[in-house]
């Protein structure tokens, strides 16, 4: 086998030293506190769709207060029946995107059941199990439980619990489940909550953060080491978080796969009969080498190279701009047709699900690239910089949306909506939707003058599911763009790198982010950050009017107070002066410094600042004609704010610009004609 050194000599790339060895164990001091570590043995029976497992949990009480009650997630009980909080919210919100094909009925439901929880002395604390519902009054929800120990875990002490559980795998839903011979295991074992310790995320006393599974929320967990043995039928291909450390055949026709990874917050895996595995290696000068594995359905094998290329582009950009990817392996799963929307596009540490298409667009399928980049980048923004996805979803999704746009720009990629045209019709229908849209522009369109909810709030407390999605993704990315515009691109790049370096393997909050941004930029960004993230205002500054009149010197006909004495009536004189008036409006509630630039016919420019307290301003000029006529008025002349709802109305010219209006009217007319012709063909 070629050693990394020999490889580097052959290909001329000098990788950075690895942070983990070939067995997934950290080299040198641990990268995280390893608060919750698991030693898991699980067996999967696909025929019964059942998992049975044992987990030795080693948990450290990071607080200075003894803890006798431990909080746990039992995520799969969200799919147990229609009474779970997840199901109720999903039904109420009509969010079917992740509900899987055909919707899920009782035969598709899944559950998890804790069988025992023994202390090292053999005491079973399972009888102390108590179901909790900290987020609502739904007593039927079974996604959070507590166990009470006979003796508390002392401050900074450790407890070991041997958990035994059984679970039924749901039909593919909400980032987990089974479809045919494909099974994805996410949030699949009894998982301890996070005991937040002051000053972590602003808590004042040690507090358990362990939320129910909501239709619009993701997850939150402590770092730890995972050593997992997975026993599955021999025909099943297995991919998982971490590094494969062993594979042993069993007499009953099953195979046990062993994986290990230190310093991660979760462990997910897939067991998939008939899947295809494609491997590659990421090598780049000065960055750690990363082994890559793509697992895709055989009929979508053509997707694998693009998935791997997108992953490499992300590792390259992120390694240079945020943090080098420290883990030695990354697994990317492209689900089979029927499971992409329900289980694709999900982030787990060193293991992500992307999409796989039977006939990807070549040479670049933007849909595959976008989801892969986004999910791989999550390994930084939530995987390592482990924010609370329940309570501050913007810190992972918003930051990651910003990050996805950064990688898109770095590889020079833009959206072509033709990728959504089904194969077989692309040659004919592709040109109808051919576009070239920057990734960061995609999200801007959902700006509004005033939002219902703030960005920084628990994911399940938004007014609608669509508002939650718009807010924590695009709106939050726009907010970051506003901060970037405020401090400049280079400074903001330093902000993000510092934020990643400082908060990797910890749990930052919104305040932590704003503090880093203020510290690095040398400016107090908290007021603007709070307005954007904790306010509901939108921004749409506009030039509403621009008009000019040629007038006599001193004004038109009328009474004029020429010398401060009695006004005298004066008729019109020669029209030698240009009198211009510009009306500027703040159509949104967000007040950011507003500068107006007037460009005169003689090429001179004038800048005018609108006071922050004003919602509108009328600017008048009078200069010798014709050079003094204003030809162009612009707000935000240096850079359009990323959250501006309508950048087109940021400028207004005195001369007419007929092309856009004529073009759009013509397009409207053509579309109306086609509609009328189509309806006419039915008459």
């Amino acid at each position: 086998m070629l050693t990394p050194v020999l490889v580097s000599l052959l290909v001329g790339v000098t990788p950075a030293p690895a942070r983990f060895d070939a067995a997934g164990r950290s080299i040198g001091s641990p990268l995280s506190e390893r608060t919750a570590s698991y030693l898991i043995e699980a067996r999967y029976d696909p025929a019964k769709r059942q998992v049975s497992g044992t987990a030795r949990l080693t948990w450290t009480n990071r607080s200075a207060v003894p803890q006798s009650t431990l909080w746990f997630h039992a995520y799969w009980n969200a799919f147990k029946n229609a009474d779970s909080t997840f199901a109720r919210e999903a039904i109420r919100g009509g969010s079917g995107v992740r509900s899987g094909p055909g919707g899920n009925g009782p035969e598709d439901w899944g559950w998890t059941e804790l069988r025992s929880a023994r202390l090292p002395d053999g005491t079973d604390v399972r009888p102390t199990l108590r179901w909790e519902h900290p987020d609502d009054d739904n007593t039927a929800d079974r996604t959070v439980f507590t166990l009470t120990l006979p003796a508390p875990v002392p401050p900074h002490g450790t407890v070991t619990l041997d958990l035994a559980w059984e679970a039924r795998v749901p039909k593919v839903v909400a980032r987990t489940g089974v479809l045919g011979k494909y099974t994805l295991f996410g949030q699949w074992f009894p998982k301890i909550g996070v005991l937040e310790v002051p000053p972590q995320r602003g808590v004042r006393t040690p507090t358990w953060n362990c939320h129910q599974f909501h239709a619009q929320s993701e997850f939150y967990a402590d770092f730890g080491s995972y050593d997992v043995a997975l026993t599955v039928p021999r025909a099943r291909l297995v991919g998982a978080t971490g590094v494969r450390t062993g594979r042993s055949e069993n007499a009953d026709g099953t195979v046990t796969h062993r994986f290990h990874q230190d310093d991660v917050i979760d462990f997910a895996w897939t067991a998939w009969e008939g899947a295809v595995e494609v491997t590659d290696v990421f090598r780049s000068e000065g960055l750690p080498e990363v082994a890559l594995t793509a697992i895709v359905p055989p009929d979508a094998r053509k997707s694998a190279p693009q998935i791997l290329d997108a992953a490499k582009a992300t590792l390259e950009h992120a390694g240079r701009h945020w943090l080098p990817y420290p883990y030695s392996h990354l697994t990317l799963v492209g689900p089979p047709v029927g499971a992409n929307l329900a289980s694709g596009g999900m982030e787990y540490p060193t293991f992500v699900t992307a999409y796989a298409r039977t006939d990807p667009v070549t040479p670049v399928d933007t849909l595959l690239w976008e989801v892969t980049i986004h999910e791989v980048a999550h390994n930084w923004w939530q995987g390592m910089v482990a924010s609370n996805e329940f309570e501050e979803a913007w810190l992972d999704e918003g930051v990651d949306t910003w990050a996805t746009a950064e990688v898109f720009d770095a590889v020079g990629m833009r959206w072509d909506l033709a990728v959504f045209v089904p194969p077989g019709t692309r040659w004919l229908l592709g040109p109808f939707v051919r576009t070239s849209i920057a990734q960061r522009e995609i999200r801007r369109r959902w700006s509004v003058p005033r939002w219902w909810s703030t960005i920084d709030r628990p994911a399940w407390l938004f007014r609608t599911s669509s508002e939650e999605g718009q807010s924590v993704y695009g709106r939050a990315a726009g907010a970051l763009g506003m901060l970037e515009r405020e401090v400049g691109r280079e400074t903001f790049a330093r902000v993000m790198r510092t934020y990643a370096e400082r908060w990797a393997f910890h749990h930052p909050s919104t305040d932590d982010f704003l503090n880093v941004a203020s510290e690095v930029s040398g400016r107090d960004l908290r007021p603007l950050g709070n307005a954007l993230l904790r306010g509901t205002a939108g921004l749409d500054d506009a030039v509403s009017e621009l008009r000019c009149l040629d007038v006599p010197p001193g004004g038109g006909p009328g009474f004029h107070d020429v010398d401060g004495g009695t006004p005298v009536f004066r008729t019109a004189g020669p029209l030698t002066e240009a009198w211009c008036e510009v009306l500027v409006d703040r159509n949104g509630d967000l007040r950011v410094p507003l500068e107006v630039q007037l460009t005169f016919q003689d090429g001179t420019r004038l800048r005018h600042k609108v006071p922050d307290k004003e919602l509108w301003a009328r600017i008048r000029t009078q200069r010798p004609a014709p050079g003094g006529r204003v030809t162009l008025a612009e707000v935000h002349p240096d850079a359009t704010p990323p959250v501006d709802i309508d950048p087109v109305n940021d400028a207004r010219s005195r001369e007419s610009t007929p092309a856009p209006a004529v073009g759009l009217t013509g397009w409207f007319l053509y579309a109306a004609q086609l509609l009328a012709a189509a309806v006419g063909s039915l008459l």
Binding site: N649, L664, A677, S681
Partner: protein, 306 residues
């Protein structure tokens, strides 16, 4: 095939008829768009940042929400209602042109339209029943297909549309059945209109029934008529594709695009006339007991004088 070629030839030669249909199309489309024009002019008439951007840019096409927030959205319902009235009126004239061989006269066209409008409307309502029956065929076919695990384009999941292959042998076959069902209904409608005109029938229910029987006895004609419809769709899509790839950015280019758009709509309307001619030929051949190939010049001008 000769009947198809003959029908297409009529679609091309009857340009004055197509022009009348295009006028109606313009009227309806204009009414739809009219409320939006002031808004578009106000928003973009002095907007230098909109210049040079493609129409499909987010700032323009997808960014119209705020512009129409205070009104001015295109009107659709009332103009489409007008379209129903206009189309029901004008089909009488179209049938006249498809059956008669004399020169086009606008007065005569309108006269025939007016003479037949009531009966054509009643005929349409009767044949809506056939549409319901025809729609049931693909729906009922989809049930066993689904049970057998075969996809149709209507039952394919979003996931299959986005990531797999929605067009399989089974789904294309099902699509063909849908097209044939629509073709059967539409040809029956056209034949019924021709019967009303040629035989000056007053009882529209009887005309509808005769039309259905005639069409059911000519499955080959249904297939050919469906092919004609498919050709129309393909021609429109290909021409619309030309429209879609035109450059943008100036008034001249916008007018060029509008001009190409008229070719697209013209083509669709010409196929409409061709379809009516196809139905007329079917009726003529059936009534004359001739092989189903008929040249318009040989056909008697059965139109009552107007």
């Amino acid at each position: 095939m000769r009947r198809l070629v003959d029908a297409l030839g009529v679609g091309v030669r009857e340009w004055r008829t197509v022009l009348v249909l295009l006028w109606a199309n313009w009227l309806v489309a204009g009414l739809m768009v009219a409320p939006s024009i002031p808004r578009l002019v106000a928003a973009f008439g002095h907007a230098p940042r909109a210049v040079g951007r493609p129409l499909l840019s987010f700032e323009q096409l997808f960014g119209l929400g705020p512009i129409f927030a205070r009104g001015g959205t295109p009107s659709v319902g009332a103009p489409l209602l007008l379209l129903v009235v206009l189309q029901t009126f004008l089909v009488g004239g179209v049938v006249w042109r498809a059956c008669a061989s004399g020169p086009f006269r606008l007065g005569a066209f309108m006269g025939q339209s007016g003479r037949l409008v009531g009966r054509n409307a009643r005929l349409y309502l009767w044949l809506l029943l056939l549409l319901l029956v025809a729609a049931l065929v693909p729906v009922l076919l989809a049930i066993p297909m689904r049970a057998l695990g075969l996809q149709t384009v209507f039952t394919s999941s979003t996931d299959r549309w986005g990531f797999g292959r929605p067009f399989t042998a089974a789904s294309v076959l099902h699509l063909c059945v849908v097209a044939l069902a629509v073709g059967l209904w539409r040809l029956s409608l056209e034949v019924g209109r021709v019967l009303l005109f040629r035989d000056d029938l007053q009882a529209t229910r009887r005309a509808a029934w005769r039309a259905v029987r005639l069409v059911l006895r000519a499955p080959g004609a249904v297939a050919l008529y469906t092919v004609l419809g498919a050709l129309a769709t393909l021609a429109v899509l290909l021409l619309a594709r030309v429209h879609a790839v035109l450059p943008e950015g100036s008034v001249g280019l916008a007018l060029l695009a509008l001009g190409v758009g008229q070719v697209v709509v013209w083509t669709r309307l010409a196929f409409q006339v061709a379809g009516t001619r196809f139905a007329a030929a079917l009726v003529e051949s059936a009534e004359a007991g001739l092989p189903p190939v008929m040249h318009r010049a040989e056909a008697p001008d059965a139109a009552p004088s107007v």
